[in-house]
Structures are given as structure tokens and as C-alpha cells.
């Protein structure tokens, strides 16, 4: 930690502490995959990949690459004892049916009521692609987003209303950022943990939101 912000690795490390023993979890493509590096060794957490597997192990190393065994990011992975395979219909039924405990996603924007925008920037000349983003947004009992709180230009990505095309409405429960951890919901965003010397007032100024202070409450 450097002063009042976390690196991406630190966000992932902090988030990993909140995954309970025995949880079934899906880590979205990109940033969220970092979380798997920090899962507490005394907890058994079972990873789901939406292309049809429970019990996914670490990324495959040279010498153990199997083209039939990949994750949703199409990266070769490994299989842990107790794994199982199933087809895409069953895999997305599992997600949509609310059987996973936690899903961790990246985002372009998140609204204080938990709307998620992470599939499209809406740029008119872009090739649209959604993949499993909209399913993942609804795909677990708890949906966590991890991202930097502001863009490189200093604009807050936690917003009142998403301006990017939404992926799902009211679906994000908790937001892990480099400056603070927030709970989101119909009643708005609340700060539940501050990073380093960050203050709530700084966050209110950055986001322009009337953030509740729940830092005193147990997570």
C-alpha cells in the first residue's frame, strides 16, 4: 500500500479475504483473475468457469497444456481433484439459478444502486461482443466488482447513473477499489472500508455522491 491507494494486486488480495471457506466462485476475465493468487491457503474455494467446469485449478504451466482444458478467457488451465465437467446449457443454468456464491467482475462503470456497465463502451464503430458478461452479472448470490475508482483522467467510475451501456441492473453488491470498498444497493452506495489515509470526504468529492459512512459496521 502506498499512502492512500492500493495497487491492483492489493485490491485482489483484499477481496480474496472476503471469500469464505467452501465458496463456489467465478472470476471474470482480466483483472478478477488476480484474486485467485491470493486466496487464503486455509480455505477451500471452488472455481467455476462458465465454459463448463467446476474445480478449476491454476493456469497450466509449460508441459501441462491441454487444448481441451481452458478457462472462459481461453487460457489453458488445470483440473483439481473433485472437478466436474458439464455443457454450456447446464453451466449457465447453474449461474442463472443462483448456485454460485460469488462472482467477481471488472467494470467500466458501476452505479450506486448496483447497475453494472462492463460489456461495451458504446463507441459507434466498435464491434459489439457480450460473451457471458450479462449472465455473470446475475450469476451468483453475491456479485463483486473490482476496479480503480477513477479513470486515468480522474473521473469517477462509481456514478449516479451509468452512461455506458448497462450489463445488468441493480446486480452489484459490493465494489472493491484502490481507494475504498463500497456496498451498493437500492438505498445507494455506502463506504464500508477506507484505504490508507483516504477520507470519506475525498470520496464524496471524487464521486459526487452522497456516500453513507458504514466504516464502523462489521463487514
Amino acid at each position: 500500500m502506498s499512502g492512500s491507494s492500493w495497487s491492483r494486486a492489493e485490491i485482489a488480495e483484499r477481496l480474496a479475504q472476503d471469500i469464505p471457506d467452501g465458496a463456489y466462485m467465478n472470476l471474470g476475465i482480466g483483472l478478477p483473475t488476480l484474486v485467485s493468487n491470493y486466496l487464503p491457503s486455509d480455505r477451500e474455494i471452488i472455481l467455476h468457469t462458465e465454459n463448463g467446469m467446476l474445480g478449476m485449478g491454476p493456469e497450466a504451466q509449460p508441459g501441462e497444456i491441454d487444448p481441451d482444458l481452458i478457462n472462459a478467457g481461453k487460457i489453458p488451465v488445470t483440473e483439481l481433484p473433485g472437478a466436474s465437467y458439464f455443457h454450456h446449457g447446464d453451466s449457465f443454468a447453474m449461474m442463472r439459478g443462483g448456485h454460485l456464491d460469488v462472482c467477481v467482475l471488472g467494470a467500466f462503470q458501476v452505479s450506486q444502486s448496483g447497475d453494472l456497465a462492463n460489456w461495451s463502451t458504446g463507441a459507434p464503430d466498435s464491434i459489439p461482443a457480450v460473451g457471458g458478461a450479462m449472465d455473470l452479472a446475475l450469476g451468483a448470490k453475491s456479485v463483486y466488482v473490482m476496479m480503480e475508482l477513477a479513470t486515468k483522467n480522474g473521473v469517477s467510475k462509481l456514478v449516479d447513473q451509468c452512461t455506458y451501456p448497462v450489463t445488468g441492473l441493480g446486480c452489484v453488491d459490493r465494489l472493491y477499489t484502490d481507494r475504498a470498498i463500497f456496498s451498493l444497493g437500492a438505498e445507494g452506495a455506502a463506504v464500508i472500508e477506507l484505504v490508507g489515509e483516504t477520507t470519506i470526504d475525498e470520496l464524496r468529492e471524487l464521486t459526487g455522491l452522497d456516500l453513507a459512512d458504514n466504516t464502523g459496521e462489521p463487514a
Binding site: 468457469t49 462458465e50 465454459n51 463448463g52 467446469m53 497450466a60 509449460p62 508441459g63 501441462e64 497444456i65 491441454d66 487444448p67 481441451d68 482444458l69 481452458i70 481461453k74 483440473e79 465437467y85 458439464f86 455443457h87 454450456h88 446449457g89 453451466s91 449457465f92 443454468a93 449461474m95 442463472r96 461495451s120 464503430d125 466498435s126 464491434i127 459489439p128 461482443a129 457480450v130 460473451g131 457471458g132 458478461a133 450479462m134 449472465d135 446475475l138 450469476g139 451501456p165 448497462v166 450489463t167 445488468g168 441492473l169
Partner: protein
């Protein structure tokens, strides 16, 4: 005696007509029926609607089929990839139509076609631009979008083992869309590494019962190929 074994991929696709809707299995390269796609390109059918998770990688397989302008429309969830330049170019030029479907809805719509379901209410996509114009309904406090089945004339899939009845097993995450696509097409063609004797497949472990499979093409042991060198 039933035998769904077909001598070649070309034979298996001989009656595939222009204008057909063709499902193509696979997620990225895993489970892609490479030999069948090559045979489809060779076969020459055109004006196709393709249902597949992606829209091709590099310049081979599905990308080659698209590049040869055989595909008028693609129904998929994730066309844009680092190496999807053939699709990207045609799409930007307005030369290929795209129906973008969230991956879980794509899977469930294919499953519905095979399962005789006329339509279903799914929460995925509600409130997003991909549900624009679609019927919605709130059921027990949750918001849903009505989605309909996707049928195909042909499904081309890749499996691991088959018997002469067309019973199939798969290997690891290459199972992906195979079983549901097999159920949603008028004619299902499976390429498999090896066709084994009847009775060799464990009835408890058959993933796609032969009732869903019309033709099987044997393509040889995957472990002979360079990509599988690590797990030979």
C-alpha cells in the same frame, strides 16, 4: 444394423443446402469441429446462417468460411477477439449480419429448441440494449425477458468417442456447446477421434445419446497432433 458412421466429412455434409442454418460447436478452439468446418468450406454451400459462440479466429476454420463470404448472418455471443479480423472487416463493411446474444441466453435458446420449449423467461439481458423491443415480465418480483428457441438445419460438433449408434462422450471443457447443439438441429454431424465397439462406452457416462446424432466421422487421435503433445 444401425451405423451412423460416415466415410468422410465431405460425405457427411453432401446434402447441406445453400441458405441453411448451421450450428458450429466450440468455445474458442476447444471443441471446434475443425475437419467439418473445412469440409463445409470445400462443399461450397453459401448464404449460410451460422450459430456459434465466436466468429472465427485467424484465417482458418470458421474465419475462412466467413472470409469466403459463405455466411450471410452469424448468431453469436462474442465475435470480437484479438484475431477476429476477418469477421471484423466484413462486419464494418456491412457484408455480414450479426445477432448478438448473451452467452447464457444463446445456450438456453439452443437447449429450448432441442427440448420442445416454445419460449422462456430469462433474467439475463433485462434492462440492456440487447433486450430492446423484447417482451418482458416481472415474475415473483424478478424481471425477465422472453426469449425463443434457435433451431438449425445442421449442427457440426466435435466429440471424443462415439459408437455406431452415435452415442458420444467429450473431453474436458471441449464439451461446451456440443450436447445442446446436437439436440437442436435437423441433422447433427459429429467428428470424433475414434469410433469404438458398441458396449465400450459406459451407459452412465454417455453425454449425448445417439438419438441426437445422425452422422459420425472419425478423424483420428487428437494426441497425435502437436497441440496435445503435453498430455499425450
Amino acid at each position: 444394423m444401425i451405423s451412423k458412421t460416415t466415410a468422410s466429412a465431405a460425405d457427411a455434409l453432401a446434402d447441406l443446402p445453400d441458405g441453411a442454418t448451421v450450428m458450429i460447436g466450440g468455445f474458442g478452439l476447444a471443441g471446434q469441429p475443425v475437419q467439418l468446418i473445412d469440409a463445409l468450406l470445400e462443399h461450397g454451400a453459401t448464404d449460410l446462417t451460422v450459430v456459434s459462440n465466436n466468429a472465427g479466429n485467424g484465417d482458418t476454420g470458421l474465419a475462412a468460411l466467413i472470409g469466403a463470404k459463405r455466411v450471410k448472418k452469424i448468431i453469436c455471443s462474442f465475435p470480437r477477439q484479438v484475431d477476429s479480423y476477418i469477421f471484423d472487416g466484413l462486419y464494418r463493411a456491412g457484408e455480414i449480419e450479426l445477432e448478438l446474444v448473451p452467452q447464457g441466453n444463446l445456450a438456453e435458446r439452443i437447449r429450448a429448441a432441442g427440448a420442445g420449449i416454445g419460449g422462456f423467461f430469462t433474467p439475463t439481458g433485462f434492462g440492456t440494449s440487447l433486450a430492446e423491443g423484447k417482451e418482458t415480465r416481472t415474475i415473483d418480483g424478478r424481471d425477465y425477458v422472453l426469449e425463443h428457441p434457435i433451431f438449425a438445419d445442421f449442427a457440426l460438433i466435435s466429440a471424443y468417442r462415439a459408437d455406431r449408434l452415435g452415442n458420444l462422450t467429450y473431453r474436458k471443457t471441449s464439451r461446451n456447446f456440443g450436447p445442446i447443439m446436437a439436440s437442436a438441429a435437423g441433422t447433427t454431424v459429429a467428428q470424433v477421434d475414434r469410433i469404438v465397439e458398441l458396449g465400450e462406452l459406459d451407459p452412465e457416462a454417455v453425454v449425448t445419446p445417439g438419438i441426437f446424432v445422425d452422422r459420425v466421422v472419425e478423424t483420428g487421435d487428437r494426441f497425435e497432433r502437436e497441440e496435445w503433445a503435453d498430455v499425450r
